[in-house]
């Protein structure tokens, strides 16, 4: 499992609708904003890159020092962004795919307003379990 991993789902309006620190390293207060900064800045790169490929998984799009940003773009242009420090391409890909399935389930919920924050605790636990499994 990666020591640092920050997972964020960004809606198509560039609003984070879900975020979780899924790394094994203890969470530090000052890192939370740093991770957000890196991921937020990486959106610029994703914006360009997303239209150059048919694949949903953009692999690693950006890096900041030793931290790498991997991105997965859904058909609705919702972006799953993972900031991590280890390179397990396959694991990240599987992680994204499974999270995508979970996300679709959330999306199918008629009470969920697309683009609003995901508050489901079930989703949260599932994502964290996936992170432990793949990252």
């Amino acid at each position: 499992m990666a020591s640092t991993a920050c997972f964020v789902i960004v809606s198509k309006n560039d609003i984070p609708i879900y975020d979780a620190e899924v790394g094994s390293a203890p969470k530090k207060e000052d890192q939370a904003y740093q991770h957000q900064f890196i991921l937020h800045a990486a959106l610029d790169v994703v914006q360009d890159l997303a239209w150059t490929t048919n694949a949903m998984s953009l692999k690693s799009v950006d890096r900041f020092n030793e931290l790498v940003v991997s991105v997965y773009v859904t058909a609705g242009h919702t972006r799953f962004m993972l900031l991590h420090d280890t390179r397990t391409e396959d694991g990240i890909k599987s992680f994204f795919q499974e999270v995508h399935e979970l996300y679709i389930k959330i999306f199918l919920n008629p009470l969920y307003l697309p683009g609003s924050r995901i508050t489901s605790s079930h989703f949260d636990t599932k994502v964290r379990a996936l992170a432990r499994k793949y990252l």
Partner: protein, 1275 residues
């Protein structure tokens, strides 16, 4: 773009130029000092030749012309490797200088996206960053692995005052004083020497100098000696001198000391000297050197043979692995190639330079001299750039150089930076901004924080320039830069960087980013002492609910710290701490409707309106159609405005939430109000319109001071609360207008922790909102109130109304009213939503002692409750107080109220009190609304079963089932009464021990049997002696303790019960009401006696209009041997109805096949004395009691007796008359017989007067069991 015209091109043309080493004598320096300049300073403006236009021929035969040329004049003492600390100091100075310029900028608004986008490209990044970059590059001058900083020529200067100037020249070029580069053999000490005699005109005539020059020429060489005369101006500050210097000021020539003796002639002379020096000496020398070196290189290195030889030679050599590679002296071929390359570069023969650099790079690579290799790579990269060839190669070279520098560790770090700067510039020139920014970012990692900050800022600018614009990257890198600035103690720059990034993160939903940016900007502004801006930014973060406790408190502490630093109370519009939930806002104003407590306000208006419907007078103005919604006669022209009364508080309920985990102290929460005394509705209307722009006003200028509480017109309440972490409280604010006019509720203000004043205006409901629908209209905030003249107002409450009571609980309470005003009120009326529970008493009840007042003191002969009740009485009880009651101003008034907990459950009791004003006022009447919640717990369940007594006429057996539903309470039965004079209740003759069941413990049930007798029609003797009355005392206390059930309030409550229970039971007319009075057995005697009355109404009696009874001997002795026995019995029939009845008795022999159907017949004929079905489960015995008479005789096929004498008899009975029908039965064997197999068929013939309901018109009665025992008699 022409590379020479690009920034990098110009940079290279200016920086990579021939260096002239200057050696001066102290006297020569002193002569220059007189004009406030050093010798180098004096010459340097003239060392740049914009149009030198000299032909140059290097290795090739084709000459070309140089246009721009520059030589660098450097003192010999400065030619050494830079000390890092000194260099860093100098760079720091550049940054700090810029620091001061940024300060006014910081006070302005932060730039917006449009500002940044519209800026010219060059201004995006502060101009001083270019200077910074050059300074950074200059820290590497005179390194030993590069030769372009090595002096090309040497200028030796002697003053005309020096003694023995010729020997001075020799002294000057003394090796001891020369730079280490020359001494250590890194460069060739045999360089071009040029000799100059400096003559100060003020020291004397020029002849001395001319003589010296002549001497020099003879000894040192004809061409290499020059004379320069300065300070020809007689007095300082010659007017022309100032002008003549002007063009050169830009070159960093600042004459600080003021005195300047140089005149135009001097300057022209200097200029001519420099021109001559450059074009006639330096350039030819370099040309020649290039040609010589090229020749040398060609012979040793060019050609196939030389290459093989070179490879072989290098391979054989065991090169030690060292960071700097082997030492190369100026004589080594590598150094010579490098010099050749650099000279060619300086003379802009880039092709030649490149070929030499390429040649050299392979050598250095083989030698593993990495630093030199990187340097050569770097230069070849620049050559590619200047030639504008193969971008790929240029980049490859730069990258190669960059990574090689990085690889060799700390010694190559700064070189890497320089390489990176060039590389980034190169990429920028070609428009590859993204790559450039990543290069900047890479080199920023290698530099100390201050340098990296500037580099990061440049990286950020590159992102902005890139296409498409990468604003987020721009913001991020600016933030990084700001952070680095902060670390290196450059707070102004830090703030500037963050400020520039602000627009990127404006309205940003990424919460942590937002908090970080605003918090840091705020904090740094605070440190800089610009508190207002600091607070503005910190306000953005004080209400961050998602942060941890420590962060929240850190934010809050800093915020308060800066607020306190300002030394004054700070007004903040829409302060987010605490959060006022504006949707929860509710204005409570009392016009004609007044409320007893706050809880009453929350009751829906429709409930009140329904309750008060009959009580309040209908609106005097009849609206003819919907257009006429605003009656013209109404004093309130503004339909929307509400009315409130002067002197009475208008309340405002609002929810306050603390978003933080820290508890905050909020004090002085009060309303901001405006009261205009002009009674003009249109002005209020205007107020509404202007309120739309109110927010703008509030943001532009804090207009809070204009809304200061006006003590003359109104008073506002002030509330202090402490909100715990995450707590939500509902608060009530009040404003009491004192004069009439129009009161406008503008907003709320509050003080946070005694230092920050927050205020917020109400969003005024616009017309649009109300149009959305009824709901919207209901929720819209009514913030404009018309204040009318003071009115009388009653306040009131019911004293000690229980919130919990047991079913049946009967209590006497008091309604206390108080008139707080000066004027009297009259015509008081009251309406109660549940008269079943609460009934107002009479005026005499007030001083009664409960429950003694209910006791029957005098034996009353009448249990009849007056039947004055009307239908209206039951649905919403309207009670008018006696007309003479007026409540004077300041007076209190009490009125008795009876409370009876009728049914279990939760009850919302609404009470509305209506009163009229004594004097004429704007509002003719007012209502006081009170609302109570009572929880009624179940206590005793009582049910009755009545069945006809088969043995007596006019009597019934009553079975009373009582179940105690409570968990812990015990109840003592006190009294059972049946309502009305018609019935008398008594114990069964056989069991007098009814007192055994006087108390019923919790969860137990008891059944009792009684007898009731109809005494109304048949005034029997028993009734007269009083032993059998309508009341029966169940407790041992005796008949003195009987409660009077025919008086108020029990009678009143009984009517209510009858009304409500009557709805449930749809029985025939002949019904019976019971009242059971019980007392709670109090655990401690201190409690006052609690009385419970249970009303069971309309218990149905058997409705038959006739009674019948068998009479006859019960035991017959007969000798069956003689004959069959004949028994004479008679049937006594009584007609209790008021009509004629014709009646027939039908006897049937044998077993009746009807037996099976009888129960169903009976149940179908109507309620058999039961109406409360619910108890059936509890009392199992009930079902078994039903239909006792059908005897199971099916086993016998033949009946042992037969009826004789008649099989059917017809009798006509007059009202209230009896008849006897003789019957005879023939019995054939001894035994016990039940003569019940007969039926009575009757038919009612209604008289003209009365009506009989259909059910009782005709009927069939089954015979009662009548047992006769026949014995075999003795012979």
């Amino acid at each position: 773009m022409d590379p020479l015209r690009s920034y990098l091109g110009r940079l290279l043309l200016e920086d990579i130029t021939p260096v002239v080493m200057v050696l001066t004598t102290p006297l020569a320096e002193a002569a220059c000092r007189r004009s406030g300049l050093s010798f180098v300073d004096m010459l340097s403006p003239f060392s740049l030749f914009k149009k030198i236009d000299v032909p140059v021929r290097t290795a090739s035969d084709q000459p070309y012309r140089l246009q721009m040329f520059k030589i660098r004049m450097v003192y010999a003492s400065d030619i050494h490797k830079q000390d890092h600390e000194v260099a860093d100091e100098r760079i720091k100075l550049v940054v700090s200088e810029a620091n001061e310029k940024t300060l006014p900028d910081l006070l302005a608004d932060p730039p917006q996206l449009e500002d940044v986008v519209n800026k010219p490209e060059a201004e995006l990044c502060p101009l001083w960053t270019k200077r910074f970059n050059r300074e950074l590059i200059r820290t590497l001058s005179f390194s030993d692995h590069e030769t372009f900083d090595h002096p090309v020529a040497c200028l030796l200067v002697v003053s005309s005052k020096d003694k023995e100037p010729i020997s001075k020249f020799a002294d000057l070029f003394n090796t001891n004083q020369l730079p280490s580069l020359l001494n250590e053999g890194i460069m060739d000490p045999q360089i071009l020497k040029h000799y100059l005699v400096l003559h100060d005109q003020q020291d004397g005539p020029q002849e001395i100098a001319v003589n010296i020059l002549a001497e020099m020429r003879s000894t040192l060489g004809l061409n290499d000696c020059k004379l320069l005369c300065i300070n020809s101006s007689a007095q300082a500050h010659g007017s022309d001198a100032d002008n003549s210097w002007l063009p050169y000021k830009a070159h960093g020539l600042h004459n600080h000391e003021g005195a300047c003796f140089l005149n135009t002639d001097d300057l022209n002379e200097i200029k001519d000297f420099m021109q001559d020096f450059a074009s006639n000496h330096i350039i030819p020398y370099m040309e020649q050197k290039i040609r010589v070196l090229n020749q040398q290189v060609a012979t040793t290195r060019k050609g196939f043979r030389n290459q093989i030889k070179n490879l072989w030679w290098r391979k054989r050599d065991d090169v030690p692995e060292a960071a700097n590679g082997p030492m190369y002296t100026f004589t080594s071929i590598e150094s010579q190639i490098r010099v050749l390359g650099d000279y060619a570069f300086m003379l802009r023969d880039y092709e030649l330079a490149l070929s030499n650099y390429r040649l050299l790079s392979t050598d250095y690579k083989l030698d593993k001299a990495w630093k030199r290799f990187a340097g050569v790579q770097e230069m070849s990269g620049l050559c590619y750039f200047m030639l504008d060839q193969s971008r790929k190669d240029a980049e490859y070279c730069m990258e190669n150089a960059f990574s090689t520098y990085l690889r060799i560790g700390s010694s190559g770090q700064r070189n890497a930076t320089r390489c990176g700067l060039w590389w980034a510039e190169m990429l920028t020139t070609r428009g590859q901004h993204r790559e450039a920014s990543s290069v900047y970012f890479r080199i920023s990692n290698e530099e100390p924080s201050l340098h990296s900050a500037v580099l990061l800022e440049q990286a950020a600018c590159c992102y902005l320039l890139s296409s498409p614009r990468m604003l987020r990257k721009y913001g991020f890198h600016l933030i990084l830069a700001g952070n680095s600035y902060y670390l290196s103690d450059q707070k102004q720059h830090a703030v500037r960087a963050y400020r520039n990034a602000l627009f990127v993160y404006k309205q940003n939903p990424w919460s942590y980013i937002n908090n970080h940016v605003h918090y840091n900007v705020g904090r740094w502004y605070g440190v800089l002492g610009i508190f207002d801006v600091a607070i503005k930014h910190l306000l953005e973060v004080v209400a961050c609910s998602h942060q941890s406790l420590t962060t929240q408190s850190m934010f809050l502490n800093d915020f308060f710290h800066f607020v306190q630093s300002t030394g004054k109370k700070f007004d903040v519009y829409k302060l987010q701490l605490p959060v006022f939930n504006m949707s929860s806002l509710r204005v409570v104003h009392e016009d004609h409707r007044t409320y007893a407590s706050n809880a009453d306000v929350d009751v829906s208006e429709s409930i009140w309106q329904e309750l008060e419907e009959e009580m309040i007078p209908s609106s005097s103005v009849v609206r003819t159609n919907w257009l006429d919604t605003q009656p013209k006669s109404s004093p309130f022209k503004n339909n929307k405005a509400s009315v409130c009364v002067a002197g009475e508080a208008v309340k405002l309920n609002v929810e306050v939430k603390n978003p933080l985990q820290i508890s905050v102290n909020v004090s002085g929460i009060s309303l901001i109000c405006q009261l205009s005394t002009t009674m003009d509705a249109s002005s209020a209307e205007k107020g509404t319109l202007s309120a739309a722009t109110e927010e703008d006003i509030a943001t532009t200028k804090p207009s809070i001071l204009t809304f200061k509480s006006d003590e003359n017109n109104f008073t506002v309440s002030s509330l202090d609360i402490v909100l715990g972490g995450g707590e939500t409280k509902r608060i009530q604010l009040e404003v009491t207008p004192k004069v009439i006019g129009i009161l406008k509720l503008v907003g709320i203000r509050w003080t946070l922790s005694d230092s920050v004043v927050g205020y917020q205006y109400f969003e005024v409901s616009t017309q649009k909102k109300t149009k959305k629908g009824k709901r919207g209209a209901h929720r819209s905030l009514n913030n404009i109130l018309i204040v009318i003249k003071a009115l009388p107002k009653l306040t009131g409450y019911i004293d000690c109304l229980p919130t919990k009571a047991f079913t049946g609980d009967l209590q006497l309470l008091t309604l206390n009213l108080r008139n707080q005003s000066e004027h009297a009120v009259k015509n008081v009326k009251m309406k109660i939503s549940h008269p079943r529970f609460v009934i107002p008493g009479g005026s005499s009840d007030l001083d009664l002692e409960f429950p003694q007042c209910l006791r029957k003191h005098v034996q009353s002969d009448s249990n009849v409750v007056s039947s004055k009740s009307t239908k209206e009485k039951f649905k919403g009880f309207l009670f008018a107080f006696p007309q003479d009651i007026k409540i004077q101003g300041g007076a209190t008034f009490s009125w008795p109220i009876w409370f009876h907990a009728a049914t279990p459950g939760n009850l919302s009791l609404y009470l509305s009190l209506y009163y009229e004003m004594e004097s004429t006022t704007d509002i003719p009447y007012r209502t006081l609304r009170t609302h109570y919640n009572v929880e009624v717990l179940p206590s005793l369940d009582v049910s009755f079963a009545v069945s006809m007594c088969s043995s007596r006429l006019q009597e019934y057996i009553v079975r009373m089932d009582i179940m105690n539903r409570t968990l812990s309470e015990s109840f003592a039965l006190h009294q059972l009464s049946c309502v009305g004079t018609k019935w008398a209740v008594s114990t069964l003759p056989s069991c007098d021990s009814i007192s055994l069941v006087e108390t019923i413990p919790a969860n137990q049930s008891v059944s009792c049997f009684f007898k009731i007798k109809d005494i109304g029609t048949n005034s029997c003797a028993e009734a007269a002696d009083g032993s059998c009355g309508s009341d029966m005392v169940l407790s041992p206390g005796g008949s003195t303790d009987v409660f009077h059930i025919s008086q108020s309030p029990i009678a009143d409550f009984h009517y209510q019960e009858r009304y409500h229970q009557g709805k449930l039971a749809k029985g025939p007319s002949s019904l019976l009401d019971f009242i059971l009075i019980a007392k709670a057995v109090a655990a401690n005697s201190s409690k006052s006696e609690q009385l419970l009355s249970h009303h069971t109404c309309q218990v149905a009696l058997s409705q038959n209009p006739i009674w019948w009874l068998m009479e006859g001997p019960r035991t017959i002795t007969h000798d069956f041997s003689k004959s069959c026995c004949e028994a004479n019995i008679q049937l006594v029939i009584h007609n209790s109805s008021e009509h004629n009845i014709s009646l027939g008795v039908v006897t049937s022999d044998g077993t009746l096949e009807k037996n099976q159907t009888i129960p169903s017949h009976e149940s179908a004929s109507g309620p058999g004395g039961w109406y409360d079905v619910s108890l059936e489960n509890d009392v199992k015995a009930i079902t078994s009691m039903k239909g006792t008479h059908p005897q199971k005789q099916s086993s016998e096929s033949i009946s042992p007796f037969v009826w004789c004498s008649l099989s059917s008899a017809q009798v006509d009975l007059k009202p209230n008359s009896s008849a006897k029908i003789p019957l005879k039965v023939c019995i054939f064997a001894p035994g016990t017989y039940n003569f019940s197999n007969y039926e009575l068929h009757w038919k009612v013939h209604p008289s003209e007067a009365g009506q009989v309901d259909d059910n009782g018109r005709s009927g069939v009665g089954q015979g009662y069991p009548f047992y006769v025992t026949v014995l075999q008699g003795a012979r």
